[in-house]
Amino acid sequence: MPLEPNNILEVRGLTKTFSGVKALNNVQLSLRKGEVHALMGENGAGKSTFMKILMGLLTPDSGQINFDGYPFKVGSVHDVLKSGISMIHQEILAVPELTVAQNIFLGRETNGRLFDWLNDRHLEKQARELLEQMRVSIRPDARMKELSVAEMQMVEIAKAISNQAKVIIMDEPTSALAATEVTTLFGIIRELTRKGVAIIYISHRMDEIFALADTITVLRDGNYIGTKPAADLDEAALITMMVGRELDTLFPESESQQGEEVLSVNNLSSKGKFSNINFVVHAGEVLGMAGLMGVGRTEIARAIFGLDRIHAGTVCIKGKPTAITSPQEAIQAGIGYVSEDRKQVGLIPGLSVQYNMTLASLSNYTSGLLIGSRKESEAATTMMADLRIKATGPSQKVVYLSGGNQQKVVIGKVLLASPSLIILDEPTRGIDVGAKAEIYKLIARLKAAGIAIVLISSELPELLGLSDRVLVLSKGKQTALLSKDEATQETIMRYAMQP
């Protein structure tokens, strides 16, 4: 393969398959020394899989990687770091109890000799020089846990620099930063590129991309779409590259048949999470909730369901103002919540399908003080058949079910509590296409049965295919409430990125 002398990293034909599903298909990337190269794509486009391969966390099925003029054998994370590729993760990986200096040099304190004396003074001196070079004022002897998220981010960058990285991958580095800190970060990035360091920059924020990037590569559904100089693109053209696909027939046709108002939310606010949220959902209607990750969609759902506190605003159920302070009250008020985090909030892995499904409605199956085993197992078996849950039986533990079937168990649990409103938070995250289609059909059935549905999803085709109206959020604020005709991928993206 011909190698451009100025290219630090060349990737060709990279392919990665997860049990039959192509997460990356023939992806390529050319990274020049000293450039900021933005990697763009929707959630699930394959960006993180790509970066995980570069960092040695995953092994590709096929493809070539040339780094610094030599074929790059993807090995362990340790080898990757040593050869000069560093990654600043979206979630910060630091040891909170150690100091800044200790964190920066973690794993490299003594060139690998395990029983050498540690010289903290020396480490701190080196760290101080490094941080001064970056023009950030963080004390090298401060404990990591005392720092703000922005400061931790800076320490991570210092760590990458101290590693003599030639390529630094930044995954959403500004998601936790305030405006002034973003400016500092950009200054550091420009300084680095002047020294010839190449940056792979991943972000959903359009303004940042156009302010920083020299080149933009777009991935979509694991495919390489194209690479263009940032100067040749504008926001609209970039969004079209990112989302330009047709809606397929995954989504069942369904007429909107709005019934009575089930939930209305007025000026709902929670400090630091979201503010002034207003919407109404009717029986037999799907209200989509769109926005980038971390803009407050899940937080709104949790607040309505009583898992988190509301600081201002009111929630009305069927026209009646209702104060919900616990999930118990929410369930009694007829609200069901299918969490985005199936494993943490949805399921009890060690319990059976039946026990999980009846948990929210257990008092319906009691006779006297005791649980009526027959009543309970009848309810569970009927629901299992109704949702086509594939399990060896109601007594199989949910931990052994596939992701799609686990999700159906959570939905079954919510349905057994006979809700009039269901909040579905990323209901198809991490489940395969076939199971997704089944969940979509189920949503259409629930809608036809007159249940009001709030659908939170990061997958725009899903949101557009199922929703009657779409509420768009940006940074905890409601930026649009679009009708079915107004809602397109482009309009949603535009409102979702509105500052």
Partner: protein, 328 residues
């Protein structure tokens, strides 16, 4: 996408784990029966009605404590204060059990009440503060011991009425009362754990606290009930012990919590919460009793007995850790 991998791992892990789980489910029973068989071959004195009654009688106090602590461990908690509660309830009951003072119901009721209140206090501190149950009950363990010494002024409370002494030391139709009480308590605890809503909620809270909360379960209510129940059972054990030794000892029950926890763990209750059965705990307690009785009969000194017991506890936990679902 990654989910595909997980499913695959689950499938592979499944057959292997199912096999081990199968071993564990019946393994405990099997281990228990084979140890009994071996002992009855080695020493003829083992398999006699009299000896078996002695074992069950000796085991009963520990089993009652283990039932209580099983509830607690299933919810993902721990209670180290049960040994001290034995002393508190015992001393309190003994104080009201002197001859010709109150009818026998009074010391029993007041003793039980003391345990329930003590347990409720544990529950209250655990649910109101963010302090882990291990620390809270480590504290109340010491507090309880102090209370027992204060209430008894550091001296054994003796001279108890015959009717009180009958509760734990008597026989009905030739069967020791302790055995009868043990069977009744086992039955009630089993029903609570396996047949009632609160029992199901205990599994849910221990299996995944967040998911339990999101299912509308009030975590604090479940925990309060569990620690109160554990206190009640500890008090029952304390009253029975006092009655059996005909004295309220402020130092009674020292170290009992560890034996009770060991019985629950050997019986398959996972210390990480969410699993365990009353039958398992009963067999765990019986196993401990049978082994120490057998070793006694074989004239093995108690020093070696402790080594054996410790090894069994670790073995049981190793089995439990291979067994735990969701540890990919």
């Amino acid at each position: 996408m990654e989910n595909g991998i997980n499913t695959y791992v689950n499938k592979v892990g499944h057959s292997y784990k199912t096999r081990l789980r199968g071993i564990n489910k019946y393994g405990l029973m099997l281990a228990f029966i084979s140890i009994c068989l071996v002992l009855s071959f080695i020493t003829p004195r083992f398999l006699t009605i009299q000896n078996l009654m002695i074992i069950v009688t000796q085991v009963s106090i520990n089993a009652l404590l283990a039932f209580g602590v099983t509830f607690v461990i299933i919810t993902g908690g721990i209670d180290l204060s049960i040994g001290s509660m034995v002393a508190v309830a015992g001393v309190v009951a003994a104080t009201f059990a002197h001859p010709d003072t109150y009818p026998v119901v009074v010391p029993v009721a007041i003793g039980l009440l003391a345990g329930l209140l003590f347990g409720a206090f544990n529950g209250l501190v655990i649910t109101r503060s963010k302090v882990p149950p291990f620390i809270v009950t480590l504290g109340t363990m010491t507090i309880g011991r102090g209370l027992a010494l204060i209430l008894s002024k550091g001296r054994p409370v003796s001279n108890l009425s015959d009717s009180f002494n009958f509760i734990g030391g008597g026989k009905i139709l030739g069967v020791p009362t302790l055995i009868i009480i043990l069977i009744v308590a086992f039955f009630i605890c089993s029903v609570i754990l396996h047949k009632t809503v609160i029992g199901r909620y205990m599994y849910a809270v221990g299996g995944n606290e967040q998911a339990a909360r999101a299912s509308g379960i009030q975590l604090s209510t479940v925990k309060m009930i569990v620690y109160t129940l554990c206190g009640g059972l500890a008090a029952l054990a304390g009253i029975l012990l006092t009655s059996r030794i005909t004295t309220g000892q402020p130092n009674a029950g020292t170290g009992f919590e560890l034996d009770a926890i060991a019985a629950a763990i050997i019986g398959g209750t996972s210390t990480s919460g969410g699993t365990g059965t009353m039958t398992g705990t009963l067999i765990g307690a019986l196993l401990i009793g049978v082994i120490s009785n057998g070793l006694d009969l074989l004239n093995v000194t108690s020093y070696y007995q402790q080594v054996v017991m410790g090894t069994i506890i670790i073995g049981a936990v190793v089995l439990d850790s291979v067994n735990r679902p969701g540890t990919e």
